[in-house]
């Protein structure tokens, strides 16, 4: 067993981690990256169809990326502790079917999980493509975010 592409399994599922979206973090992200009024202030949020300040969907997605990286780092540290060689980290060609079915509001705690959906060959002989579904659920058990993303993943040498 290893973390290389050859040893990954379709259907593997795990919790990536969780994050509470504070009012301060929602507004700080919006100022830098998505300054639409309903991401910037309580007043503008109340005047919108959402009825309160809500997090940018890109904030929800960016936090997901952060938790994916943290999860990978924990897995790599555990593999190193077992004395395993580590695969190189590849880039992502893209994502599909990203959805924000329910708004994320100040104080919401989102738990993110993922499941490996497909393992496919690529044109690069040393790299496979891992396709995973990733989703986030709030403290009421309601899904607020989901996407299907790909990442290039190194194969066992030789």
């Amino acid at each position: 067993m290893s973390l290389f592409f050859d040893d990954l399994k379709v259907g593997t599922e795990a919790v990536l981690g969780e994050r509470t979206f504070t009012r301060e973090a929602i507004i700080a992200f919006a100022i830098l990256y998505d300054p639409q009024p309903f991401h910037l202030s309580d007043e503008a949020g109340r005047a919108s169809i959402y009825g309160s300040l809500i997090a940018s969907g890109w904030h929800t997605a960016s936090v997901c990326m952060r938790l994916i990286v943290e999860h990978r780092e924990r897995e790599r540290a555990a593999a190193t502790a077992r004395g395993e060689k580590l695969p190189k980290i590849g880039v992502s060609p893209g994502v599909r079917d990203l959805r924000w079915p329910v708004a994320v509001r100040p104080g919401d705690r989102i738990v993110y999980s993922y499941r490996i959906e497909r393992l496919t060959e690529t044109k690069r002989p040393q790299w496979g493509l891992v396709t995973s579904r990733t989703w986030g659920v709030n403290q009421d058990g309601v899904e607020v975010f989901s996407m299907t993303g790909g990442a290039l993943w190194e194969k066992l040498p030789g």
Binding site: Y33, D34, Q36, I49, S62, R66, V91, V95, D97, A103
Partner: protein, 152 residues
């Protein structure tokens, strides 16, 4: 400044806008917070990876596009947020010193079935670098207000 409503985005409409210069400080600042992988954080570590040098997080390119959208039209648009994204493709690396610009094509437009005061527009975005290479495409499903009867 006139507001832009659903009716102002007919299918086939095209607009070009931007631009933004990419720099290493902002690449690293975004990555430290949201995508701390070696090829987004450190020039030397990035040399050793498949990226061959520092590259922007794909999510950073997404928010650079949306910042251009904001300046280009979103701040005048009666936007009610996004429902989702059909697809994002990161087709070329985005590196420090690149100058990005954007283009959208309205791919589809339909009134909301459940909320008659709202409409749904599918924007097909393309982001180009200074060599006119497409570095990213994104198809966003946007929610916006329809023009009120009493609007100018």
């Amino acid at each position: 400044m006139d507001m832009l409503y659903f009716e102002d985005f007919p299918v086939g409409m095209v607009a070009e806008y931007g631009d933004v210069e990419v720099n290493a400080l902002r690449i690293k600042a975004f990555a430290e917070q949201f995508d701390p992988q070696p090829f987004h954080l450190d020039e030397r570590a990035a040399q050793e990876t498949m990226a061959g040098g520092l590259i922007a997080s794909g999510w950073h390119t997404v928010v650079m596009l949306h910042r251009m959208n904001y300046e280009g039209f979103l701040k005048r648009m009666a936007s009610q947020g996004g429902l989702g994204v059909e697809e994002i493709r990161w087709t070329k690396p985005v590196r420090p010193g690149d100058r990005l610009r954007a283009k959208y094509t309205v791919a589809a437009a339909r009134p909301s079935k459940s909320r008659p005061e709202l409409g749904i527009v599918d924007f097909a975005f393309e982001v180009f670098n200074q060599k006119d290479e497409v570095v990213m495409t994104e198809t966003l499903i946007a929610l916006l207000k329809r023009r009120p009867k009493d609007a100018p």
